[in-house]
């Protein structure tokens, strides 16, 4: 009679194909940017000690449920985690390391805003164990930074970036493009400059107008002018693929570019549909327990989350995800990656393979490519991913 452990060794839980990470959400910012719909708030006073203790309590709770797992990565996201006290970050990292064994290429990323105030804390973060910084530079021209409501200049961002390079092996930065009044030549120029600055990783997001943001409100009443039409935005995307590809930073995900091996391990867990713990207000998680994969979520409001985490735990709900739905999530996330998905893995979750006719059609129109057990989106297909998914998930 084989033991349960034996059977697990042969038939690994699906998440193991994606890894295991920990996301920690810091919900505060210096100011709210008009385009941003992340769970970020401006607060007068933040009791960092209270927050630290709440995070530690949550870490302990999740550790008890995931003993023995090897941790692939940690991500401090926000909000603006570069407002956290380096001591707080250090204590959190120490606690995490005391609970889980870590992978050889273990990665700890922290999102940072590129201002001088934050740059002053970089050495502290490095000492605390942060190995990678992702900076929100957003634009390389001051006019657009202002339009985006950013509180830093290009010059400040360059300086902050320099300081970061001195402290961390791996530094990436974000740009937002397809902005108001942006032309294709302007973007090409800006992107070329960005590639001069970039080391080995770059995130390039097309501006999304989200409901409930200041931009969203202005857009709804027709007062947000100069946004590029889809065709111009698509041209910008195509140019981005060409320029980055030529510079050796081809896309490994819809909006992410890296040299081989320089990809964000943590974000790869999401896209490869691994397991991740989500700690902090509004954080989501995917966690497999006894062969069942759960979706976890948390209270959005920072004050309420804090009180709950202190008292009994910040998790709001834990819902089992049907294997068929897991297959859908895997597809949705996996096709964002240029490496695509493993069709056997998909079929094992879904109980059946993808519809051959839909696959053939998507191949015929140049949206996907099939290579043995893998299917991948083409760059064109990646830009139409929602439509591709709709076709694959229809029925």
């Amino acid at each position: 009679m084989p033991s349960p452990n034996w059977s697990r060794a042969v038939l690994p839980d699906d998440w193991q194909q994606g890894g295991f990470g920990l996301y920690l959400h810091w919900p505060f910012c210096q100011a709210k940017c008009p385009y941003c719909d992340f769970n970020s708030h401006v607060a007068q006073h933040i009791d960092q000690t209270r927050w630290l203790n709440a995070y530690l309590a949550e870490i302990d709770r999740y550790a008890a449920q995931t003993r023995g797992r090897i941790l692939t990565s940690v991500f401090f996201g926000g909000g603006t985690p570069s407002l956290m006290d380096p001591d707080v970050v250090a204590a959190i990292i120490a606690r995490i390391k005391s609970h889980w064994p870590t992978a050889n290429d273990f990665e700890i990323t922290l999102e940072a805003n590129p201002t001088s105030v934050e740059a002053g804390r970089f050495s502290g973060y490095a000492q605390a164990g942060v190995s990678r910084v992702s900076m929100g530079i957003q634009s390389l021209n001051n006019r657009d930074l202002q339009k985006l409501g950013r509180r830093h200049t290009v010059e400040e961002a360059y300086k902050a970036f320099d300081i970061a390079r001195n402290h961390f092996d791996r530094v990436s930065f974000d740009l937002i493009y397809a902005r108001q009044d942006q032309t294709l030549p302007e973007w090409k120029r800006e992107l070329t400059q960005a590639l001069d600055l970039a080391i080995d990783h770059l995130s390039l997001y097309q501006l999304t107008i989200e409901q409930g943001t200041a931009f969203g409100d202005r857009y709804a009443i027709g007062k947000l002018r100069g946004l590029p039409a889809d065709s111009l935005a698509a041209d910008m995307y195509d140019a981005t693929q060409d320029i980055c590809g030529a510079a050796g930073l081809s896309a490994y995900e819809v909006s992410n570019h890296a040299k081989d091996g320089a990809e964000s391990r943590h974000n790869l867990i999401y896209w490869r549909y691994g397991d991740f713990i989500g700690i902090g207000p509004g954080a989501h998680g995917r966690l497999t327990q006894n062969g069942i994969r759960y979706a976890t979520d948390t209270v959005h409001n920072p004050a309420i989350w804090l009180a709950q985490a202190e008292e009994h735990g910040g998790e709001l709900s834990r819902t089992a995800i049907d294997p068929v739905d897991q297959a859908g999530e895997y597809l949705m996330m996996g096709l964002r990656l240029s490496e695509g998905i493993d069709t056997d893995r998909y079929a094992a979750l879904a109980g059946e393979g993808l519809d051959p006719q839909s696959l053939q059609h998507l191949q015929d129109i140049g949206m996907i490519e099939a290579l043995g057990r893998r299917i991948q989106t083409t760059p064109k297909g990646r830009l139409l991913l929602n439509a591709v998914l709709e076709t694959l998930l229809a029925g």
């Binding site: 065709s231 989501h284 929602n386």
Partner: protein
């Protein structure tokens, strides 16, 4: 039973919206038939669709008791009729059950096309006509001018026309008095064998089929065994009653009276309107003349958006057909749409009403295919085929020629819009037959092909005349013309549900208009889609819907997974309102909208 001399039966007729139902409200209220607290506007328009659209679709009968100025008590049976041309049949058969008509004319508008049409029906039915000038409370009311119009255009005396506001109640007493003094009492013989006219019938989920009858001779009693003279069927009368307007049970109906009976009849189909009802044992000798049956003139396919709902659709259609003899249906299969029904209607409004009721009362989303009329196809072998569906067009090598239905349209329009109306009729292949004036209004009569009118003619007419024209039509027969089947190809595949019959000379224009419309109606896909109109193998119009280029969430991390999934589910739900043709999704409303011409 009521003394014949104390009965007055009449219909209220008018052009659409001239205030028939509101006048009925006042008559009902003034005579205390319905208590004040139970009154509501257009009380008789009880169907949801009637109340929503503010129009009458089904004729309604009410019995009113009236104590007249002469001190006598009268029984008045009024029938409120619909004004829209699609339901003209309801009006003409209602008139056969009564001796007089109140001809309501909106005194701010004057004589309109259905005013005329109704007068002709009333004259046909030998009616006394009492003109009523309504809406005198409005500042734009001009009774003198309208009275003059009535005399000029219709040729009836309007000196005694009653001035009424159905809104305020002014003139209602005078109207009641005129009904009693001007309209004739019915005639009939009490001790003759029973002879009753089957005026209407409908299905009630509690009582089964309800039969509206007008007694000509004899007496109908509860418990009687009756015979329907046309099909010979025998029934046992289990209830007799009148509408006030809610049902009130009584024991018998005598000559001249209008009321209803129930007799455990299961299906409306078992009753034929216009039939004569008599006693099984002591029948009358000759039946009444009967009505010309109503004929559906517009046909279209109704398909469930979700093909799994076909059986539900069948059920819904059969239930509605129970109640509406003028609506026909038969099963249809479409290469693209699967199983559905080809249905016949009295006109486009009738089509919309039935479609709305299926969607709402039965919760089935429908695709309605291009409406068509019935063409007569004369084959080389001498036979004739009735074509209800362009998709069924036989191979041309066997066809000798085609004939299409024509109508006589009467349009009344203020002078300043006449030019636009003539152009519209001309564009729709009309042949002008008459043009006369009544004051500053022109009356034009056109011979038009029904297929050019059925669809959006009325909308166009209203829009080019800013709502000032009125329109009525009658079928006049079939005529040969150069008609062809135009197919629409989407992404190189023919979509049978979009095929239409068109005149060859208008094919290019129609084809271009349709492919342009479809280009707007079909959402962009991941690939470009050619949209073509073709006659036989020859493409006559072409558009290309360019490919969608961007549809992706720029930023998607762990936390967004749930949100993203919801978004996809919403998109999927939106897609449910579309049907796939090959690889192309076509929204359900496209099939009708594509046909609407902007000129």
């Amino acid at each position: 039973m009521t003394d014949l001399n104390k009965i007055r039966n009449f219909s209220i007729v008018a052009h659409i919206d001239h205030g028939k139902s509101t006048l009925a409200d006042r008559l009902i209220q003034e005579t205390g038939t319905v208590a004040g607290r139970d009154m509501k506007e257009q009380l008789l328009d009880s169907m949801d669709i009637e109340r929503e659209r503010g129009i009458t679709i089904k004729a309604n009968t009410v019995r009113i008791d009236y104590q007249a100025d002469d001190g006598e008590k009268y029984v008045l049976n009024l029938i409120d009729t619909p004004g829209h041309v699609d339901f003209a049949y309801e009006v003409s058969r209602s008139m056969r059950a009564v001796e007089g008509s109140l001809l309501v004319v909106d005194s701010t508008q004057g004589v309109e096309a259905q005013t005329l049409a109704n007068v002709y029906h009333a004259i046909d039915a030998d009616h006394e006509i009492v003109p009523v000038l309504n809406k005198i409370d409005l500042p734009a009311s001009d009774c003198d001018r309208v009275a003059e119009q009535i005399e000029d255009v219709i040729g009836i005396d309007a000196t005694d026309a009653i001035q009424v506001s159905a809104k305020t109640g002014q003139g209602i007493h005078e109207t009641l008095e005129a009904i009693v003094t001007h309209l004739p009492a019915p005639t009939g013989t009490l001790d003759a064998p029973l002879k009753a006219m089957l005026v209407d019938s409908w299905y009630d989920s509690y009582l089964g089929v309800i039969v509206l009858v007008r007694i000509m001779d004899g007496v109908l009693k509860k418990g009687d065994r009756i015979r329907m003279m046309q099909n010979g069927s025998i029934h046992h009368v289990d209830r007799i009653g009148v509408f006030r307007p809610q049902m009130e049970m009584i024991t018998e109906l005598g000559p001249g009276e209008i009321g209803f009976l129930t007799a455990s009849i299961k299906q409306v189909r078992d009753t034929r309107v216009g039939d004569t009802i008599t006693h099984e044992k002591k029948p009358c000798e000759t039946p009444l003349e009967g009505f010309k049956p109503s004929q559906p003139v517009v046909f279209c396919g109704l398909f469930p958006v979700d093909s799994a709902e076909f059986e539900d659709l069948r059920d819904a259609i059969e239930k509605l057909a129970l109640n509406d003899a003028s609506f026909s249906h038969e099963m249809e299969t479409s290469a693209a749409l699967g199983f559905g029904f080809r249905c016949g209607f009295l006109g486009l409004l009738h089509l919309e009403v039935i479609r709305d009721r299926i969607e709402r009362e039965y919760n089935i989303e429908l695709i309605t295919t291009a409406p068509s009329v019935i063409y007569h196809i004369y084959m080389r072998d001498g036979s004739m085929i009735e074509l209800h569906n362009p998709a069924d067009m036989p191979d041309l090598t066997h066809v000798d020629h085609l004939e299409e239905p024509r109508i006589k349209a009467t349009i009344l329009v203020p002078d300043e819009y006449l030019g636009d109306v003539l152009k519209l009729c001309q564009d729709r292949r009309g042949i002008q037959e008459d043009l006369t004036y009544a004051g500053s209004r022109a009356m034009v009569v056109y011979d038009l092909p029904l297929n050019e009118v059925v669809f959006d003619f009325y909308d166009r007419l209203k829009s080019v005349t800013k709502g000032y024209a009125s329109f009525d039509y009658q079928m006049i027969g079939y005529r040969q013309d150069y008609l062809v089947k135009m197919s629409i190809l989407v992404n190189d595949e023919p979509v049978d549900a979009l095929s239409t019959m068109v005149h060859r000379d208008r094919a290019e224009m129609r084809g271009r208009a349709m492919v342009e419309k479809l280009k707007d109606l079909i959402p962009r896909h991941m690939f470009k889609i050619p949209i073509q109109a073709a006659i036989g193998g020859k493409v006559i119009a072409r558009e290309t819907l360019s490919a969608m280029r961007k549809d992706v969430t720029a930023k998607c991390y762990g936390g967004d997974m749930t949100r993203k999934k919801k978004l996809l589910e919403k998109q999927k739900a939106g897609k449910k309102k579309m049907r796939q043709f090959g690889k192309v999704d076509i929204p359900q409303e496209a099939f009708i909208s594509a046909l609407k011409l902007d000129n």
